[in-house]
């Protein structure tokens, strides 16, 4: 009685080649947790151009993609290196005084966190807008004319609204999926589910491919069904230097190192050469990493425990 429709397993190279095109709006989501650096690096290697990059927090991955020349525009709500400071490559494309000769300013379209979440929710629910209580007396609506007001039909005044965001492709990382693309995740959920449902195409990248029976044993853990997933990529350690709850820790040292690397365009280019362009895939990236550093990121176990769904026949 399985609804199996066949495997969607692909390599990252094939998944990016098939589903990410020049000019696309791309959302590599994951709030601090489960950011698919592996997908971002493959997009850099495949030299995609003129992308609109949407993410609540562009994080290092969009700093790297901007440095590599993939982006024409950013849609975001918080533009920094979390816990460290600035995203220097992006600053060089957003501050006129820092712009290199021949470079143009990135377009920016910014919201608050709740606004970005609401944009994905509206996109996923096929709503023309998402209402929220924010922006009142802030300069954000003046800076972004897509933040508007809507009149309540119950006579209680106006509320703020953001428009739907429907990326051409959403790329989410998670702990596990089956080969059909039923994705399960725990820890910080960010807006992986909302971004995936809002997108026209979905690439799901996971630490582990599990049998469908594992998914079906705990259906409340599923955040995204295979129905909306176009490609499943098995990419262990694919979120580094971000992290995967229970699998590995955030590489905070790298987030600090990037601050130094990214302050100069030349050092940034050199890092991209060494760790992205000259690395064919994520397996090679891992092989190139210091093994002791990797080991140190593994947490000790903290099991959730099992619950009983009951067999009803």
């Amino acid at each position: 009685m399985s609804g199996a429709t066949g495997s969607k397993l692909h390599t990252m190279r094939d998944a990016i080649a098939a589903h990410v095109h020049d000019g696309d709006t791309v959302a590599i989501e994951g709030f601090t947790h489960c950011i698919s650096f592996a997908a971002g690096h493959e997009i850099i290697r495949q030299k995609r151009r003129n992308l609109t990059l949407a993410r609540m927090t562009p994080d290092l991955i969009y700093d790297q993609m901007v440095a590599a020349g993939c982006a024409k525009k950013l849609i975001f709500s918080w533009l920094g290196n979390p816990g460290v400071g600035s995203l220097h490559a992006i600053r060089r494309r957003t501050e006129p005084s820092a712009l290199a000769p021949g470079e143009s300013l990135l377009e920016v379209e910014e919201y608050s966190h709740h606004g970005m979440v609401g944009r994905y929710v509206a996109g996923a629910h096929r709503l023309p807008f998402y209402p929220l209580r924010s922006y009142s007396e802030s300069d954000l609506p003046a800076a972004n004319p897509l933040i508007r007001q809507v009149e309540s039909p119950y006579g209680d005044g106006k509320i703020w609204a953001v428009p739907p965001l429907n990326p051409d492709v959403a790329i989410i990382h998670a702990q596990r999926a089956d080969a059909e693309g039923n994705v399960q995740m725990w820890g910080l959920l960010g807006c992986q589910k909302e971004a995936a449902f809002a997108a026209k195409r979905v690439i799901a990248v996971v630490e582990e491919i599990v049998p469908t029976e594992t998914i079906r044993a705990d259906p409340n853990r599923t955040i995204v069904p295979g129905l909306i997933v176009n490609a499943v990529v098995h990419e262990p350690f694919g979120a580094h230097p971000s992290y995967v709850q229970g699998a590995y820790d955030r590489d905070n040292a790298f987030y600090r190192e990037w601050d130094a690397i990214s302050r100069e365009a030349a050092a940034t280019d050199e890092w991209l050469r060494e760790w992205v362009y000259e690395v064919p895939d994520r397996a090679a990236y891992i092989a190139k990493m210091d093994a002791a550093r990797l080991r140190a990121l593994r947490p000790t176990p903290a099991p959730s425990g099992s619950v009983d769904y009951g067999d009803y026949r």
Binding site: M1, S2, G3, A4, T5, A124, H125, R126, L127, N182, K193, F197, T212, I215, R216, A217, P219, N220, T222, P225, G226, L227, I228, Y309, G310, D311, Y312, R313
Partner: protein, 262 residues
């Protein structure tokens, strides 16, 4: 396949089998309570094994080990691919446009496939208080296609609904097309109505039209149990292909062994 072991197929069995067969080729089906539940589960066991069953209670990819009495039965949860809140089910799955076909029934249907599940008589002082919409109103608007399964009679196939709970082709295809476009409906409206006597489709005007007569049913019986002059194509009306032995076995032995539904 061998011949059916039991008696000849009953009108209800004919209805369930015809409805199940109408699902051929559909991928994602929103399952309603009662007869649709049996029809969809029969389809999944026969001509549509790849079909994903979605229950409005919050289940995607159900594999019920028994036929659920209600659409919120525990057997639809265990072994499903995703069990989600109703907010997600109605917002992300249905309104988000992920449902290929929704099955509806009703106390009244009109020639354009509009449905009443709310009241018989006046709304404020009803003769009969029916269950109401449930998810039907939004299923009618957001599922890409609607199929209807209900027994036919002059009380249920009516010239004029007492209350329009769920829109079908409205006052006809032209009106429906305009509204669908203006209001962003995903639904192409009802395409099939399966009854205990026949299978109907909708013509270019959006009006219900006889497609096939069940074995044993007559044109007179059809006409006498519909409250308007039903459109019947010229020439011979084909007969609904009869249930196979395997379909009857599944209904009688697996899906409804106590005969509670069919």
């Amino acid at each position: 396949m061998s011949a059916p072991k039991g008696p000849e197929a009953t009108p209800n069995e004919l209805m369930v089998v015809a409805a199940a067969r109408a699902l051929e080729g559909r991928r994602v089906c929103f399952v309603g309570v009662g007869l649709p539940n049996i029809a969809v589960n029969l389809a999944k066991r026969t001509i549509a094994p790849q079909m994903e069953l979605v229950y409005e209670a919050g289940v995607f990819g159900a594999s019920p080990a028994r036929l659920p009495l209600s659409i919120g039965d525990p057997t639809i949860v265990t072994g499903s691919t995703a069990t989600v809140s109703m907010h997600d089910l109605f917002g992300l799955y249905l309104q988000g446009g992920r449902i290929d076909v929704g099955f509806l029934g009703g106390a009244q249907i009109d020639r354009f496939g509009n449905l009443n599940t709310t009241v018989i008589g006046d709304y404020a002082a009803p003769k009969t208080r029916l269950p109401g919409s449930g998810g039907a109103c939004e299923i009618a608007i957001n599922a890409k296609e609607i199929m209807v399964i209900m027994r036919q009679s002059k009380r249920s196939f009516v010239e004029r609904l007492d209350f329009r709970t769920s829109p079908g082709h409205l006052d006809g295809a032209a009106h429906a097309e305009r509204v669908r476009h203006d209001e962003g409906w995903l639904s192409a409206g009802p395409t099939v109505v399966v009854t205990d006597l026949a299978v109907y489709g909708f013509d270019a005007d959006g009006e219900m039209t006889l497609r096939t007569l069940h074995p044993g049913a007559t044109l007179d019986a059809v006409r006498e149990s519909i409250g308007w002059k039903i459109r019947i194509p010229t020439g011979d009306v084909p007969t609904t292909p009869p249930p196979s032995a395997e379909e009857l076995r599944l209904i009688r032995e697996e899906l409804d062994p106590t005969g509670a539904y069919v």
